[in-house]
């Protein structure tokens, strides 16, 4: 899409048939179903309001928050401009410290690499640190397809996995579930769980802990994602709240990290900015409880084999779009989801992709090519709340509008909508035509038959409005006519 604009050959996007970047329905259709789920809306309304409040509180206490945001944005922009160099440096440093770097063009290549690495260890079980990249490529399904058992260890991700559900939030994948529903899932799926289990959060956490401990202790291979990778030192970093991630990162013999190529930062000092921005924006904490960093392998301490899989899966195509590339700056905090009035009502599943909410609406269509997720850029009222809270100041509304245009301009044959918009544009460009069009609108008065609102008799798309909202009857004269009659030209 955007590559065409730059006059370059089309860069590969994320392939179809693998991973979780595409839904089966358009956003409006999926949203219509989700909106009917009153429990979902209650759960989401409660959860997002709580996180919003926490975030606002801890952000307000940082006097230089705006400067931090600007710094985050600037570091990301500068890094993207020389992404190739930073990645090669990262590979050099990771290799020098005893790790192995693999380059995966897309989801299929990444899944094949990880599957082969796990199989080479001879194990049949994998424990996982919560990771968006591996959800994106459908790694669990790929590993399960060759007979491996995969255990999610993040509490919310575990709830989703046990419930045979899908994640609906970047940070809190089970945000759509309340504790009564979680209790039901645990009671039904955890082997040997206490039959007296209640929905008390502590009891639920303890049940998950017992279930997971066993797996941590016997796991020989762990798979993680990464929040950051420091090129100059070859350091990977995972930021989390529970400590389950650290269990996976330290206990097994082999650690495999799958990381989107946009996660690299050039220097160790860059982390200073992001480690301030991320926890306050995501969980509303001043600092997250666990920040793990590791570089290569250390003899006698932690995993003795480390593999880093660098994943493209459409990211280079995103990078080629000079407007849309800002989406790659995302640090996956999910603040934009929590403030989004659309997300709060539809939930994450309506977006069809593992990346829901405002960031998902600009990231998923770019990773897959806009035509494979054409309804997502329209899944926003452009209220701007996302841009306001984004810790790296991604101008999400502008990118949404840009992608809408990319979609419109990709149509080979004009749609009815396009013809209508072209006609209207022509009228709005020529005052005499415009005045004629306004006179045409006045024909609505005939349909209104003296009533102040129009009857609900219109075909789509106007029926989309009138199903739930009255439409006023057009006035007899336009404002310009009235004013001119009163005041002259």
């Amino acid at each position: 899409m955007t590559a065409v604009h730059l006059g370059m050959p089309g860069l590969p996007t994320a392939p179809r048939g693998v991973g979780h970047l595409r839904g089966t329905e358009s956003f409006p259709d999926a949203a219509r179903h989700e909106l009917r789920n009153g429990q979902l809306r209650a759960n989401l309304g409660h959860a997002t309001a709580t996180i919003r409040g926490k975030r606002a509180g801890v952000v307000a206490e940082v006097p230089d928050w705006e400067q931090l945001r600007a710094a985050g944005k600037a570091i990301k922009a500068a890094t993207m401009a020389r992404l190739d160099e930073h990645l090669v440096e990262l590979e050099r440093q990771v290799t020098a410290r005893g790790g192995t770097v693999h380059w995966a063009r897309d989801a299929n290549e990444a899944n094949a690499i990880v599957t082969a690495l796990v199989q080479a260890t001879g194990t049949t079980e994998v424990v996982k640190v919560k990771s968006m990249a591996t959800q994106e490529i459908g790694l669990n399904e790929a590993l399960e397809a060759v007979g491996l058992d995969v255990f999610e260890t993040d509490l919310a991700e575990l709830i989703v996995q046990l419930g045979e559900d899908k994640p609906s939030h970047i940070l809190v994948p089970a945000i759509h579930k309340n504790r009564a529903e979680i209790k039901e899932i645990f009671a039904r799926t955890i082997p040997g769980v206490d039959p007296e289990l209640t929905d008390d959060p502590r009891q639920l956490a303890m049940a998950a802990r017992t279930h997971l401990r066993e797996r941590f202790l016997r796991a020989r291979v762990a798979v993680s994602g990464a929040n950051f990778a420091v090129a100059e030192t070859g350091t990977l970093s995972v930021v989390e709240s529970e400590g389950n991630g650290r269990m996976c990162l330290t206990l097994p013999d082999t650690l495999i990290t799958v990381m989107g190529i946009e996660k690299v930062v050039p220097t160790w000092t860059d982390l200073e900015v992001f480690l301030q921005l991320l926890p306050r924006s995501s969980t509303g904490e001043r600092m997250n409880p666990y920040t793990s960093t590791w570089a290569g392998v250390t003899p006698g301490d932690g995993p003795q084999e480390f593999h880093l899989v660098l994943l493209d899966n459409g990211r280079t195509a995103v990078l080629a779009d000079e407007v849309g590339r800002e989406a790659l700056h995302c640090i996956r905090c999910s603040a934009c989801l929590n403030v989004c009035p659309v997300y709060e009502r539809t939930g994450g599943h309506a977006y069809g992709s593992v990346y829901p909410g405002p960031i998902g609406a600009i990231l998923s269509p770019q990773l897959t090519g806009v035509e494979d997720n054409a309804s997502l850029p329209y899944a926003s009222s452009l209220c701007g709340a996302c841009y306001e809270v984004c810790p790296v100041a991604i101008d999400i509304p502008s990118i949404l509008v840009h992608l809408r245009a990319e979609h419109v301009e990709a149509q080979e044959h004009p749609t009815a909508e396009a013809l209508a918009f072209r006609g209207l544009a022509k009228a709005m460009s020529h005052p005499r035509l415009w005045h004629l069009a306004q006179r045409g609108a006045r024909l609505g008065r005939l349909i209104a038959r003296g009533k102040p609102t129009l009857p609900n008799v219109f075909p789509p798309p106007i029926s989309g409005w009138t199903r739930s909202r009255d439409l006023p009857t057009p006035p007899t004269r336009t404002f310009v006519q009235q004013w001119t009659e009163e005041h002259g030209q």
Binding site: P28, A31, R32, L35, R41, P341, V342, R345, T346, P377, Y378, A379, S380, S381, L382, C383, G384, A385, E388, V401, R404, A405, E406, V408, E409, F421, R422, L424, A425, M428, S429, P431, W434, Q438, A441, K451, P452, T453, P461, I462, G464, W465, R467, S468, R469, D470, L471, P472, T473, P474, P475, R477, T478, F479, V480, Q482, W483, T484, H487, Q489
Partner: protein, 266 residues
Amino acid sequence: MKVSLFATCLVDTMTPSVGMATGRLLQRLGQDVVVPPTQACCGQMHVNTGYRREALGIVANHVRAFAGAEAIVAPSGSCVASIHHQQAAVARRAGDEALAQAAEELAGRTYELSQFLVDVLGVTDVGAYYPHRVTYHPTCHSLRLLEVGDRPQRLLRAVRGLELVELPGAEQCCGFGGTFAVKNADTSTAMLTDKMAAVLSTHAEVCTAGDASCLMHIGGGLSRLRAGTRTVHLAEILASTEQSTHPTTPTDAVTPHQTTHPSVPA
């Protein structure tokens, strides 16, 4: 000051009372108001729906219609934000640098009504009288793109007889979003429902805002519910005085059925 009034396509075509109120308010404050008759639209609906190429002619018409204006005032945060943030970009992408510069130059002299009153004219008490219980919805583009802040509330607090009540969850979008209201009608309606619940919880007689588009949305929903609360544009409240609060013809109401009673005869 010679003030050129940009009514916006929606006000011009659907709610002329808002344009009349804006013009009369500015005249009452001693401004020389002109209404360029060739004005049409800022182009925002086209840009935001994906028709940025088609918007070029609309931007060009806007720039022609207002060329040479000393100051331009519009009763819409959203359209003024589009003039500030989108018009030049539309021209530049189409390779028309001269139009882009003309649009930028014009944008520098274009103000949303509350900004013009407070920042340019330096008034908060515009001498209005409006004896009603009113709640204010800060429209998203006024709030986040133009950052009008509390200017509208300062203007409203100075209105004699007006009781201003706080709107819970005021900063949440009403769900309008231009073509979003139609393309994602169900989600838009869900957002509107929550906004209406908040408005109704205030027991206000009137919900006001600085954008006729959002008000048509909220008002259209309230009208469908046969709710007693009506929507009235900020300009209409500020334009009303002791002499002009009597209801006029209901055909000019912003949201008919609820007889918005434009404060000035339109």
